[in-house]
Symmetry: C2
Subunit: 173 residues, 2 copies
Amino acid sequence: MLHSRVQISPDHARWALSGNSDWFATYSSSADAEEASVLAPKFDAEGLVTCVATDAATGDVLMVAHMNAEALIKTITTGEAWYFSRSRKTLWRKGETSGHSQRVVEMRVDCDQDAILLKVEQKGGGACHTGRRSCFYRAVPLGPKGGGPVTLEFRDAEQVFDPKTVYGGSNER
Amino acid sequence: MLHSRVQISPDHARWALSGNSDWFATYSSSADAEEASVLAPKFDAEGLVTCVATDAATGDVLMVAHMNAEALIKTITTGEAWYFSRSRKTLWRKGETSGHSQRVVEMRVDCDQDAILLKVEQKGGGACHTGRRSCFYRAVPLGPKGGGPVTLEFRDAEQVFDPKTVYGGSNER
């Protein structure tokens, strides 16, 4: 049952009240949101949803980031990926410093509407600020291990750009 | 610089102190964690990391969930996907009710070690508790829109199992 402007859960109240009800519906239960044909993001206590970006050509997972309401709206309207940096507490257009922007080919939302999937064209070949194509360049071995912390294996970890050249002293991504 | 048992950030303190230093290292900065060859998960304030599960055969994103330290360790040791349910506040082996478990083919960690990628063999054909293969069965149209909330488009939304039959009255997933 849709309550787009009537019943507003605490999670959604801040956004609905700040004018985003023109963009997002709200639901009183996850079960309702699952079969809904309107966008009703379930923002967490910090006002964020999780976002996974994949390479539209290969399907490979490139990165995981977060979006607040503004980043979500900007991504929808511009077709470029915008995120919200939890560490820097700022809205951020991917590539604004590096030039390595992401053109969104397709955007999807998950069942309970707390996660977004972007299929993107990654400009510059690398999504990761460390210079790799993907942020997932290390494997975690499964099964028995020796003493001490789990040892990681670098995999698909070659750098496609030099982060020092691209970012300089900036900590933007 | 590694501080596996010396300098512990507040984020990691609870896990390190509860005995998980035998599994996880800790770092004083994200930059150190990025090039590290040891697992040093950056748990959030709730003690969780984000986890993306993809189909190992097709690469399609199946679901986004969360892991606490225990879920992460159980996944590594058993090779089956374990998660932590934020809504039910419980550790949860994927498929424990439905039988639709996930065998982990490969596990990866991202640059700043706050996200995990699992490439899995999905038993039963469907990862989503709504009966779909993937949780991402609705597209968000990009560009200009009319008045009111964004309308979603169901895509790849056919059910591969009947959730009522599989879950009955259970709200486990």
